[in-house]
């Protein structure tokens, strides 16, 4: 019944620093781009595929635990991958003169957007002066006055004719407050009073009335020609204005047209600009005049002038009227090298798809195409956009907006507030921008799987999953890459070089982080933090290089900052507030081990588990579950115990006990099955009456066959019990039983390893329940003979005997009850 315990070398994998080919990290070539390796081959392959494939919907979701450097990795990889690819064109918006509410999109070759904007700015500055010069010229004024005079003369001629005809008939034309009328006159030319008119002979009066009616009809006939004349006059004046404006602006427009002749859309835009200026030349001249007179009025002017197209023009002078000829450069790619890789830190709906801003003016909110603002989709168009999935989902409308853009392959700027009818004001419908972008969502696996299950669009739009592993193999290749990566962080953060002992200690810490002697953590954030803190410790110690001692100090300091609660727990055990025995023997009582997680800090502690039995119907009562303090996995573990007991000891008779199990002094919930081993040991001890050594603690889960299975947090659990024992006094008897499959996960603290080395503490790997019981009780478990009976004096014999006894009692109890019932 000899049970081996683990040797100190099995408790911790020491990094062999002699195999590191450098003295300090300053000798290493720094690896700044983590996407060039460091243990994420699967993610690299997925990103390569996602970026490479051009078909729709092959966007990428980079999933992995937080802190694994997904953002940096993705950004660095994409930047490198897209370097050297063609840069996208500039995106501009210009006024749509036909429909000002729907600004037109203008795409220009890279860097040319600003050129055109500056050219149009120059036009906006020079055009009013050029127009003013042309329209104030003597030649124009003469031609205009000649036209106006022609109309005036026609108008006056009509009235003079009427007046003359009226005079021949003894009438005159007289002006009234709202028109004119014909009136009879006396021979002297004065208007005839009514009483005099009445004195005229009847035939004379009738003749005058008839004449007046004729004159009225005549005037009406002549007046009907006025609108046509006015129309002709306006047309002639417009033609004149057109001619003069073309003359004044022709060279300015042609200069721009020639410069951008390779972009036909610019020519179309310039044609529209020229037409609009001609249509609105009077408004422009008027505003220029006001500008010169310093009488900037605040009366609203309206776009469209004579055309009456009705678009709103913000009030003001020259600048504001000419504003509509400007170019709004939404995305300027002049400084972009290769396809852009954009990370949007605040992915609100507006920050993604852009927005239309408004300006308050005279109590109203107004806008125009110059107030259209870009979103990150605009900036990333032609390249890649990296977004944090969690942030996108948190922002109202952002996720839907992103999906809409990806599905429609275009960016359509719509106001969220208007979509929900929260505001009602003048807004714009800018022409949508065709979208060609790879979106990389970075987030946790949980979000990935939730989206996968609950959002049918997700699978169509994000077909590529880039899975980031939280660990990588601890081999020579990765060890060297790890050191180079550390050199990269040192260079980036300006830290002291790390001595190879420091690198070794960090590698060990990394292995401890993933609880595996064969693996290293890829948690970049944790690594970076530890390196910075170790650098600080080195500085405090006055060292130029960071050694293992500094790293250890940084680890200890970090633990110290976080382990206040652990200390309180330890203290309460030491002072006997929480009852934990670390010596002696007791039946039906055992030290189980549990782990508490406080953020990213985890620590272990022992829990007293007790079991009591009585005659019953084979049920094992989990008291935690009865009071709803047991999680489902824990409850499952307890139910497995009944399966084990029945299978091993009660194949041919009913299991006639009722057992209750409880975590003493536990007031919070319990989850996980890592205590199921301890619970079974405790139960077997209670049934058999064999006492258990209280100097030992137990962790591990068990299946129905009595095999002990691996659990998590093995290091913290061992250390937790070790700390309690050390506080109460190590007596060389104490130790922990762990599943044998957890041995490779051991990366224990140095003080624990030293205690084991000194024989003051023991760690026993256990494969079966029988092994564990033998260690705990010092008695042989016992193998069943051919008939299934266990040798006398063994643990299993005692358990089997007790259960048989209970079964017999139950049978007798049942018979007596039946007899009693009959009598």
């Amino acid at each position: 019944m000899q049970h081996k315990e683990l040797s100190p070398s099995q408790l911790y994998k020491k990094c062999d620093v002699s195999k590191l080919s450098f003295e300090t990290t300053s000798e290493l070539e720094a690896l700044k781009d983590i996407s060039r390796g460091v243990g994420q081959p699967r993610a690299v392959e997925a990103l390569k595929f996602g970026v490479g494939i051009r078909q729709e919907g092959y966007n990428v979701y980079a999933l992995g635990p937080s802190g694994t450097g997904k953002h940096t990795f993705t950004r660095q990889y994409l930047s490198r991958r897209l370097e050297g690819t063609p840069s996208p064109s500039d995106i501009c918006y210009v006024n749509n003169f036909e429909s000002p509410g729907k600004p037109s999109l203008l795409r220009l070759p890279q860097g040319r957007g600003n050129d055109l904007a500056q050219d149009m700015e120059k036009l906006v500055l020079e055009a009013p002066n050029a127009l003013k010069g042309a329209f104030e010229s003597e030649e124009y004024q003469n031609r205009l006055q000649s036209m106006q005079q022609e109309f005036r003369e026609y108008h006056q001629g009509v009235f003079e004719d009427l007046q003359n005809k009226a005079k021949e008939k003894g009438l005159t034309l007289i002006r009234t407050p709202t028109g004119f009328a014909f009136a009879p006159v006396k021979e002297e030319g004065e208007i005839m009073p009514p009483e005099e008119f009445q004195k005229l002979p009847e035939d004379k009066r009738q003749q005058m009335e008839k004449d007046m009616e004729e004159m009225q009809n005549e005037s009406q006939r002549l007046f009907q020609k006025f609108p046509a004349w006015q129309r002709d006059m306006r047309k002639k004046i417009k033609e004149l204005n057109n001619e003069v404006a073309r003359y004044a602006l022709g060279h300015l427009i042609e200069e721009i047209r020639e410069k951008h002749s390779d972009v036909p859309e610019v020519g179309t835009f310039l044609d529209a600009v020229l037409k609009d200026i001609i249509d609105n030349v009077q408004s422009i001249l008027e505003s220029e005049k006001q500008h010169e007179e310093g009488q900037m009025q605040t009366t609203p002017l309206f776009m469209g002038g004579g055309g009456g197209r009705g678009g709103f023009e913000p009030p003001g002078g020259r600048g504001q009227i000419m504003r509509r000829y400007k170019v709004n450069v939404l995305v300027d790619n002049s400084k972009t090298r290769g396809a852009p890789v954009i990370y949007e830190d605040n992915p609100t709906y507006a920050n993604l798809v852009g927005r239309v801003e408004h300006q308050p003016q005279m109590g109203a909110l107004i806008t125009d195409f110059t107030l259209i603002k870009q979103g990150s989709l605009h900036r990333a168009n032609g390249g890649a956009l990296i977004l944090d999935a969690h942030k996108v989902l948190l922002q109202p409308g952002a996720w839907d907006g992103l999906k809409r853009a990806l599905k429609s392959q275009q960016i359509k700027i719509e106001s969220l507030a208007e979509m929900f009818s929260l505001i009602s004001t003048i807004s714009l419908e800018p022409e949508p921008v065709p979208l060609d972008v790879k979106v990389v969502l970075v987030g946790s696996p949980l979000i990935y799987y939730l989206l996968k299950y609950y959002d049918p669009d997700f699978a169509k739009l994000f077909k590529v999953a880039a899975d980031f592993d939280m660990r990588m193999d601890w081999d020579e290749k990765h060890q060297n890459q790890f050191a180079q990566f550390m050199a990269g962080i040192i260079e980036h953060d300006g830290l002291r070089p790390f001595h190879r002992s420091g690198v070794g200690r960090i590698l060990e810490f990394s292995a401890r982080k993933v609880q595996d002697q064969m693996k290293l953590s890829t948690h970049v954030q944790g690594l970076t933090d530890l390196m910075r803190e170790a650098d600080y410790q080195a500085g405090e110690s006055g060292r130029d290089t960071v050694t293992d001692e500094d790293v250890q100090k940084a680890i200890d300091a970090s633990i110290y900052r976080s382990d206040l609660i652990r200390e309180h727990v330890q203290e309460s055990i030491k002072r006997g507030v929480m009852l934990i025995d670390t010596e002696g023997v007791k039946a039906g009582q055992i030290n189980g081990l549990s782990v508490l997680m406080l953020g990213d800090f985890m620590f272990g502690r022992p829990n007293r588990i007790t079991a009591r039995i009585r005659l019953g119907r084979g049920e094992v009562i989990n008291i935690e579950r009865e009071v709803k303090l047991s999680g489902p996995i824990h409850s499952k573990g307890v139910l497995i115990l009944s399966g084990f007991l029945g299978n091993r000891y009660a194949l041919d008779r009913p299991l006639s006990l009722s057992a209750s199990l409880v975590f003493e002094q536990s007031y919070g919930g319990i989850e996980g099955d890592s205590a199921s081993c301890a619970e079974l040991y405790c139960l077997l001890s209670a049934i058999s009456g064999m006492p258990i050594r209280q100097s030992l603690a137990v962790t591990g889960s068990v299946n129905q066959h009595g095999q002990v299975q691996a659990i998590g947090g093995v290091n913290e659990k061992i250390e937790g019990f070790f700390d309690v024992c050390r506080e109460k006094g190590l007596n060389s008897e104490q130790g922990v039983l762990i599943p044998e499959s957890n041995v490779e996960h051991l990366m224990l603290r140095n003080d624990v390893v030293m205690a084991v080395e000194d024989g003051k503490f023991h760690i026993y790997p256990v494969k079966t329940i029988d092994q564990g019981m033998e260690i705990l009780t010092g008695r042989t478990a016992g193998e069943p003979d051919e008939s299934g009976a266990y040798p006398e004096g063994t643990i299993n014999y005692e358990v089997s005997r007790k259960l048989q006894e209970l079964s017999e009692k139950r049978r007798l109890f049942g018979t007596e009850k039946e007899q009693g019932g009959q009598s």
Partner: protein, 282 residues
Amino acid sequence: MNQDKNLLTLKRILVPLDASEHSMAALNTAAGLAAAQGAELEGLFVEDINLLQLCEFPFIREISFWGHTFRCMNRADTERQLRMRARQLKRILAEVATRHDVSWKFKVTRGGVPAEVLAAAEDADLTILGRSGWTMTRPRITGSTVRTVVSRGRGMTMIIQKGMRFQPPVQALFTGSELSEKALNVALDLGKKKDISILVYLLTDGGEKLKDMRGRVEEITSAKGVRASVQSIRAMDLKRISRTVRAYGPGPLFIPCEEPNLQGEDLQELINSLDNPVFLVR
């Protein structure tokens, strides 16, 4: 007008108003002169009796400029429209007078417009009239009220059209008569107060009389401390006078209204031929 013929003092300036562009030009000029002279500005609006009488004719129709439709004329409506027009003019007068910081009053009468203006002009030191009212014919021809005041008026009268103002150079016709000396003095006083240069046209056939007239002009201008330019125009050639005045610029022309050539139809013709403001001194 002060009794001293050499010293112009205006106490009351009358402006007949009908809201036409010409009458608004008259109002602005009157306000400017009233401010320079410390005179009171009196606006006059005449409710045209002819219009009201027209309403008595059942067959007379008013023709609108815009709709080209006929409308029966109604006295109550017409009176209301005239009252509205009067209120509008009073408000404009108040604004202009306030802007020039002059005292003002506004009067509304009813009757024939020329007769009412003539009557009101009797009590004014100066009457300033728009060249024509709401004319529908060629604007160069003066309106009936102006024609009446020119032919029958007895006080000083200024006639002005839209776009014109009291601006340099002040021009004056000088015949050597006492009235022409008065006109020259008025021109000098008004021009001096506004610091405007003056040009005097000597109307003579030449010879000795020209010399005398030149000497007299120099005397008068020297006495006022003003340096004037002098130019002679042979005989009383009104067309030539008109051409010369127009050629020299848009400034006001001071005319002594005296027999035989500067009265009646001749004077009317001279006024019609000019765009300049005309100041009739009687």
